[in-house]
Amino acid sequence: MSREKTITLTINGRDEQASVPPHRTLLEALRDLGHVEVKCGCEKGDCGACAVLVDGLAVDSCLTLAWMTEGREITTITGLGERDAPHPLQKAFTDGGGVQCGYCTPGMIMAAKSMLDRNPEPTEEDIRIGLSGNLCRCTGYTKIFEAVEQAAAEMRGAGGDK
């Protein structure tokens, strides 16, 4: 077996230790640590279901080696907000029908956050490009686009009514 190394991952602001071999992906490491909110869809970087933020940028955790993320800030969907205090994206996805089976949702929301943090006033085309690495089979993306627009407005402080 390949050698393992104990690394410290900063996940949602908390340091967690994992003993992992060099080929272990961040996706596997996170899920083994109990962060099953990070979803596995393809393990090839095709679907985006496993997207998390690393230092604020959305990455496919299935294409990222766990060793490479030591000392960097990792944010998963549960680090964004919770039921009683949701992030505007979580709230917009919940209220507007942007969630169906929900399996793509964590990755989709992380990709949207990564985009909105850099571009608070996205055009529809910007949103499409920002989510182009995230596949959804349930929604046809229509209500996801609407949710991101709604959240963007709320995050700009322009209120909620698209």
């Binding site: 869809g41 393809c42 996805f93 929900g102 399996y103 959804c136 089979r137 349930c138 929604t139």
Partner: protein
């Protein structure tokens, strides 16, 4: 012009406080905050990790299978091959009879002597870690000797073709015959004949097949699994050789189904490994496993001969269907039957002949997929409608208007649907909503428009005698519990039950919790398939809630000194309809009932209409409880240099009877638009001698956020359906008409037709070249 008034809809005769509103789904917040556990998110102490070893040829004899080295690898707990399972077979679970010759769907669980499709499982591995399971899989040695296979259903029908299994390759035949089709075609002004081909399609749910099984202290095999059908506990028990009450399926919210989690997937493998190791075993398919491991949509070849008068009236129709069943039967006879019943579409055809065959090949086996044969038929009949209109020089909407089924008309099987037939209204509204045409952005861009209308059943085949159960109870603090075995595959099946229960009981969505998908503790609701969950379980839920409401209302009537039908319940209050001052809080009524021992819960069963099997020679009789009607319209831009097609507008107009949750209905339509667009344009499963060469999302291309227009939804409510409050089903109808609408738009844009889906750039360019001659 149409004489239909498109603006009026029946006025609702009931006022809803909860139903018909786009309320936040009960499952949404958990999913959006990452708190919802899916089947793959469960672990247990001492859990093993499983792996399936698959054949790398589609048609072969097993010469040698040696697992000695793999078994010897430290950390391997168990390896099973067919030799370890001498008397085990698996069957597709379909209660009832079809009269088909191959009702025996029994098949090998692991390859014994003969490999019949690429990826057929050879061995099962359980190991301490995922890495060890993978390593063991590489140590399994096998030798397969190629045997001539057959990969084209038409070839498979020829004399001398390799036989996949049994006596011949015909898996199922369905016939529909009414009137005098030959005479009608002979006397028609024009007969238009065309063949259309539809492709394999992958469900491409984002959550691959996954489960966790263990044998508990009572010798019950427990399986936590992503499935549409928890009732598979019965065929699973049969396959692993235990009584039915010794298998418990605990479902989870499913990360997409679309028919791909309708058959058994990982359950039997997990159960066998758990039985043999006496330890919990987890199996998660890789994406490639998922591409190889579950049945696809049946490719169809449909040949239409349509007789028509110059005045645009269809006089007769002959339809020949050949479906690729792949290597094993699964649900092929039923998919084929749906295709046959749907063959003439939402049009009045009194002289009809349909001959449909499902044929075995060494391709991947095919089974359920949203649309279930009805979609393949629509892909053909709606393209044929445009071709016939073109042949007689008539506007394609006008041609449709002259032939649409109307409410009260019989369909292909002679059955008169009990509900409204609004295909015409839906088509008019979708077509009108396209608005003004888009101006081409460059000289090499052509704009085209297309429409397709459909008829799609909701509810299972009536000769299967379908039932569904649901339990509703009221707690002493006035909160409501719903228990139902229904699985939620993402469409909001569970939330809809809550909305129905709280509507009936006059409380709100904050007051209800729904427990679901456990064969041991939730009443069996039947499958989440066939667009039946809302229709069947929604009705069962409504019945149970009404029974509870009746007893509570009876007590309230006594309290207020009025008749029971004068009692209303809304927003947690109970009051007298004509005298709202006479009121009390719902919770206070519940407390009185609890104190007096009035029964505050009910288990109800809803029964669909039962019928006999269709006449085997004429196909006449009842096939389904009822049908949903609607239409999809699109506008496309075609680049005539590259052949690329962009969908600019996508409009769904459906009579859904009554929305329970309009946001959820729109979600179905928008998702169907994506799934259907991929089917029409980009999703291609390429097989080479049965071997799938596109087993990933970078090769199998479903529409992304860059490809989808914002879908516009038009919801018509005839309130005539058989579901709760007049609802019809919409899960499958959402997808049915999308691809043919796109095909018709592309043909409109380029002036010639691509007769085979998906309409890839290569096929568009070829059609343009052929046209130029």
């Amino acid at each position: 012009m149409s004489d239909i008034d498109l603006t009026t809809q029946p006025v609702p005769n009931v006022k809803f406080s909860q139903v018909g509103k786009p309320l936040r789904r009960t499952d949404a917040a958990g999913k959006a905050t990452g708190k919802t556990p899916y089947a793959g998110d469960y672990v247990m102490p001492g859990m093993l990790h499983a792996k399936v070893v698959r054949a790398d040829l589609a048609s072969a004899k097993m010469k040698r299978l040696d697992v000695t080295r793999a078994r010897a690898l430290p950390g391997v707990a168990c390896i099973l091959t067919a030799a370890d399972l001498p008397d085990r077979t698996a069957s597709t679970d379909i209660p009832g009879q079809t009269g088909q010759k191959r009702m025996d769907t029994g098949q090998q669980i692991l390859v014994r002597e003969r490999v019949r499709y690429y990826g057929e499982p050879l061995a099962l591995i359980a190991a301490e870690t995922r890495d060890i399971a993978e390593q063991a899989a590489r140590l399994v040695e096998f030798e397969l000797e190629p045997v001539p296979g057959v990969y084209d259903p038409e070839e498979a029908l020829k004399p001398g073709a390799p036989i996949v299994q049994g006596e011949d390759n015909v898996v199922a035949v369905h016939k529909i015959r009414k009137g005098d089709p030959e005479g009608a075609l002979a006397s028609a002004d024009i007969v238009v004949e065309n063949s259309y081909r539809t492709p394999f399609q992958e469900h491409a749910f984002l959550e691959p097949e996954v489960g966790l099984a263990w044998v508990d202290e009572n010798e019950v095999v427990n399986i936590r699994v992503a499935t549409q059908v928890i009732e598979h506990f019965r065929p699973i028990a049969d396959a692993i050789g235990v009584p039915h009450n010794k298998v418990r399926i605990r479902g989870a919210l499913v990360g997409g189904g679309f028919g791909g989690k309708e058959d058994v997937t990982v359950e039997i493998y997990l159960s066998l490994l758990a039985q043999h190791t006496r330890r919990p075993v987890r199996l998660e398919y890789s994406r490639e496993d998922s591409f190889l491991g579950h049945g696809k949509r049946h490719p169809f070849k449909l040949t239409y001969r349509t007789g028509v008068t110059k005045g645009g009236k269809i006089t007769g129709m002959d339809v020949q269907i050949i479906a690729d069943s792949g290597a094993y039967v699964f649900l092929s006879p039923y998919v084929l039957l749906y295709g046959a019943v749907a063959a003439p579409g939402p049009y009045r055809v009194d002289n009809l002949n349909v001959h449909a065959r499902a044929v075995a090949t060494n391709n991947m086996f095919t089974s359920a997929f949203r649309g279930f044969g009805g979609m393949q038929a629509c892909a053909a009949y709606e393209q044929q409608m445009d071709e016939v209109a073109k042949a007689i020089g008539m506007d394609r909407m006008e041609f449709r208007r002259r032939n649409f089924l109307k409410t009260g008309d019989p369909i292909s099987t002679g059955f008169v649907p009990p509900s409204a037939i609004w295909a015409d209204r839906c088509a008019e509204q979708a077509w009108a909503a396209l608005g003004g045409p888009t101006t081409p952005s460059a000289p090499h861009i052509r704009i085209g428009r297309g429409i397709a209308a459909y008829q799609q059943s909701y509810g299972r085949l009536t000769f299967l005698h379908d039932t569904s159960e649901c339990w509703v109870g009221v707690e002493v603090d006035g909160t409501v519990i719903v228990r139902s075995g229904v699985t939620d595959i993402g469409a909001g099946q569970i939330s809809a039950l809550g909305q129905i229960a709280v509507e009936v009981l006059g409380v709100t969505m904050d007051d209800v919790v729904i427990y679901n998908s456990d064969t041991a503790v939730t009443p069996l609701a039947g499958t989440t398939t066939a667009t039946r969950a809302l229709y069947m379980t929604g009705n069962a839920c409504k019945m149970a809630a009404e029974a509870v409401r009746g007893r509570l209302a009876g007590r309230a009537a006594k309290e207020f000194g009025v008749e029971v039908d004068e009692i209303a319940m809304e927003f947690n209050k109970v009051f007298v309809v004509d005298n709202p001052d006479k009121s009390m809080a719902f919770v206070d009524l519940v407390k009185i009932c609890a104190a007096e021992g009035i029964h505050r819960s009910e288990l109800s069963m809803f029964r669909a209409p039962f019928s006999d099997y269709l006449d085997p020679e004429t196909g006449q009789g009842q096939a389904h409880p009822d049908y949903t009607y609607g239409a999809h319209a699109v506008e496309v831009a075609v680049d005539i240099d590259t052949g690329e097609v962009e969908v600019l507008k996508s409009i769904a107009a459906h009579d859904i009877g009554q929305c329970i949750n309009p946001a959820a209905v729109e979600g179905q339509l928008e998702g169907g638009a994506q799934n259907g667009q991929g089917y029409g344009l980009s999703e291609e499963m390429l097989y080479e001698e049965g071997k799938l060469v596109t087993p990933s999302f970078s090769e199998y291309l479903m529409p992304t956020s860059m490809d989808m227009p914002k879908v516009q939804c038009i919801l018509l409510e005839s309130r005539s359906g058989l579901g709760p409050f007049g609802a019809k089903g919409v899960g499958e109808p959402a997808i049915t008409a999308v691809a043919p609408a796109i095909a018709n738009a592309v043909a409109d844009a380029i002036g010639t037709r691509v007769f085979e889906m998906p309409i890839t750039p290569e096929r568009v360019v070829k059609a343009l070249r052929d046209k130029e001659g």
